[in-house]
């Protein structure tokens, strides 16, 4: 599903160079639920951005679903993101002026679905997260947990095979965080591959695999679930 080998990413300013990823190697298989942990500044988010085709990298190879992404132009990368990848962010990233229906509609618009198909998918995904009755509400009228569920509905509406979550429970209290994790587990049980960056070791334990990132390199560590693989 995701194959990264010897990925290097350097952030440069006039004064310094920061090596965010050094020879970063990781394979994620179809159906995996991978938790990525590590200290702040270790390169977790940079990895997630590269995995989500939001950032380019200096060297190494990255195959997504067997396709080498380094040679793709902006349009092709955007299409790949739209069709295969769903994003969940720590701060939800809902558009405040759009109601829930229109927020979930955003990725579908770029997919080219007709009106009927979009409506069906939006209603279905909002129903999945238990917010179908509030689809005309604005994000500001919802709690943090509900907003994150809308973000999950938006990520799911396009039926991606690969879900990238960046601290999805970081802005939520314990109860809401547990609820969101339950959703992610259900989604993974349905066959969607999930890579989740988190600081929370308790949440990480619920993933099938745990990856620890330090100084821009990844290593597999023992997870609560009995899955092992070599990074």
């Amino acid at each position: 599903m995701l194959d990264m080998k010897d990925i290097r990413k350097v952030f440069r300013t006039e004064l310094i160079e920061t090596h965010a990823l050094r020879d970063f190697t990781l394979s994620v298989n179809e159906g995996d639920f991978v938790a990525v942990t590590g200290p702040s500044g270790s390169g977790k988010t940079t990895f997630l951005n590269i995995a989500g085709l939001l950032e380019a990298f200096e060297s190494g190879t990255y195959l997504l679903d067997g396709q080498d992404v380094s040679s793709l132009n902006d349009k092709a990368r955007s299409q790949l993101r739209n069709e295969k990848i769903g994003f969940i962010f720590q701060s939800f990233n809902l558009i405040p002026d759009l109601n829930l229906f229109d927020n979930v509609d955003v990725p579908l618009r770029y997919r080219g679905f007709n009106t009927g198909e979009r409506k069906r998918r939006i209603e279905q995904s909002l129903d999945t997260v238990g917010l179908a009755s509030r689809m005309k509400h604005l994000p500001s009228q919802l709690s943090g947990g509900q907003q994150q569920r809308v973000a999950i509905a938006r990520a799911l509406a396009g039926e991606p095979r690969f879900l990238l979550a960046d601290e999805p429970t970081g802005n939520l209290d314990t109860k809401m965080a547990a609820s969101v994790m339950e959703f992610l587990q259900e989604i993974n049980d349905g066959g969607t591959t999930i890579v989740m960056v988190t600081h929370d070791q308790e949440l990480a334990k619920q993933a099938k695999r745990n990856i620890f990132v330090l100084d821009g390199s990844a290593s597999e560590i023992e997870a609560a679930a009995n899955n092992t693989a070599t990074a």
């Binding site: 988010t45 951005n49 989500g52 939001l54 950032e55 902006d74 349009k75 955007s78 299409q79 993101r81 739209n82 069709e83 994003f87 962010f89 720590q90 701060s91 990233n93 558009i95 002026d97 759009l98 955003v106 990725p107 618009r109 770029y110 997919r111 938006r154 396009g158 960046d166």
Partner: protein, 437 residues
């Protein structure tokens, strides 16, 4: 997707109504100023008689001083002498022709209600009315025989007929002009060509005259010359007759030549005429005859005045300043939306998608600016009307073409103004925005 982009533009406009209003106002002010000056230039440079302007020709021959040309560019004088006017009309070599000139005189209306008043007179030949397709409300022009017999007939403008006869059909009624009894043969309908092409020597925006009477009365009634009278040498002798026989120019000559062949024949006629006059000791300068059509003559006479063109350029510079302001405001608006742009990129929008989305929004603002700009242009034109008073209504009206021009100009200008902010918006790195929201 276009309807989606329109929907997003509407939402965005509602999100920042004050910022949007400022942008629309900036564009509107620029468009309003431009459209005011463009309209004046457009009307002044438009074809006043499009159906036959290429068949109507202004006659120029060079009777001027052998040592000094009439015009610095070497072109022949702008008018002709009385001698040429009479000779050309005697020879009648064109399909239609009329020598014309401006004059003035006192009109003494019948009855005691209306006091005598000074009126502007245009002296013309019978062909003047059909040649220029001048509309009549009552009656018509006069036949050739009137010119030959020097009959005292007059055609009134509609305004004069309203003033003297209360707007009634005054054909066959009499009117005292210059102390003589004239018979009214026709009343014109509204007629105010812009520019007043048949005589632009004293101003292209002047209104047509109040009365039209036979040119052949010029000598007998000693009608005073109006407009520009230029002489390169003094008349030989004293009195009105000597003035008419002099080399002074004060007359215009128009001919209608329906085909190219007619035009060539008339050019030959002028060549032969001038050759003949040279043999008689006149026309000391080299042969220099011209026969421009209406639009060529308007261009030659620079009907669109330099002032109007300078104003036009100034208004375009003002529009550029307004657009610079719009660029700044758009930049602020789009950059404040970085998080949304990052999100859209993350969920699959390409740079091209975002570029189109933001250009559509810019276009909507531009159209808004265009519509408001039209209203400002109307106010500007009203201002011009108040400033200059007696100018044709068509000069201060925005026709359909100008409205379309305004909207296209606003749309194009706003799109150009939106290019840089849109490019900046599309260049935002999505990853940095998604984490920082």
């Amino acid at each position: 997707m276009f309807s989606y982009y329109l929907k997003l533009a509407t939402i965005s406009i509602r999100r920042n109504p004050i910022l949007t209003a400022l942008m629309i106002l900036a564009i509107a002010l620029g468009i309003g100023a431009c459209m005011t000056t463009i309209t004046v230039n457009y009307v002044m440079s438009s074809d006043p008689i499009p159906q036959k302007s290429d068949q109507l020709h202004y006659v120029q021959v060079d009777n001027w001083d052998p040592n000094n040309p009439a015009n610095s560019d070497g072109s022949p004088p702008d008018q002709i002498t009385y001698t040429e006017a009479i000779n050309f009309m005697r020879d009648k070599k064109a399909f239609r022709q009329s020598a014309i000139a401006s004059s003035s005189g006192v009109v003494n209306p019948p009855g005691a209600e209306t006091k005598p008043f000074m009126s502007q007179i245009r002296i013309v030949y019978s062909d003047f009315f059909p040649m220029f397709e001048i509309p009549f409300l009552y009656g018509s022009g006069w036949p050739d025989s009137v010119d030959e017999n020097k009959e005292l007939v007059v055609v009134l403008s509609r305004q004069t007929n309203d003033q003297v006869f209360g707007g009634e059909d005054s054909v066959d009624r009499t009117l005292e002009i210059l102390g003589r009894e004239f018979r009214v043969v026709g009343v014109l309908d509204d007629y105010f060509p812009v520019p007043r092409f048949y005589d632009v020597t004293v101003g292209a925006l002047n209104k047509p005259e109040d009365l039209y009477m036979p040119f052949s009365l010029k000598e007998e009634l000693e009608l005073s010359p109006n407009g520009n009278v230029n002489c390169w040498k003094s008349p030989e002798g004293e009195g009105f007759k000597a003035f008419l026989q002099s080399e002074c120019i004060n007359y215009q000559m128009w001919v209608e030549l329906p085909t190219e062949s007619d035009k060539r024949e008339y050019e030959d006629y002028l060549y032969n005429y001038v050759t003949e006059q040279k043999a008689l000791g006149r026309f000391p300068r080299p042969m220099n005859n011209r026969l421009p059509n209406v639009m060529e003559w308007m261009e030659d006479q620079q009907v669109v005045e330099d002032d109007a063109q300078i104003l036009l350029w100034l208004s375009f510079m003002f529009l550029a300043v307004c657009l610079l302001n719009t660029i700044g405001l758009l930049l602020a608006k789009f950059v404040s939306r970085s998080a949304e742009i990052g999100l859209r990129r993350a969920v699959g929008a390409s740079k091209q998608d975002l570029f189109i989305q933001h250009l559509v929004e810019t276009g909507v603002i531009g159209i808004g600016g265009g519509v408001l700009g039209l209203l400002i242009a109307l106010l500007g034109l009203e201002g011009i009307k108040m400033l200059y008073g007696d100018i044709p209504e068509s000069l201060v009206q925005l026709d359909l073409t100008m409205m379309v021009v305004a909207l296209v100009l606003a749309l194009t200008a706003s799109m150009l103004a939106g290019l840089y902010p849109t490019w900046r918006a599309c260049s935002i790195a999505p990853a940095s925005q998604l984490k920082s929201q």
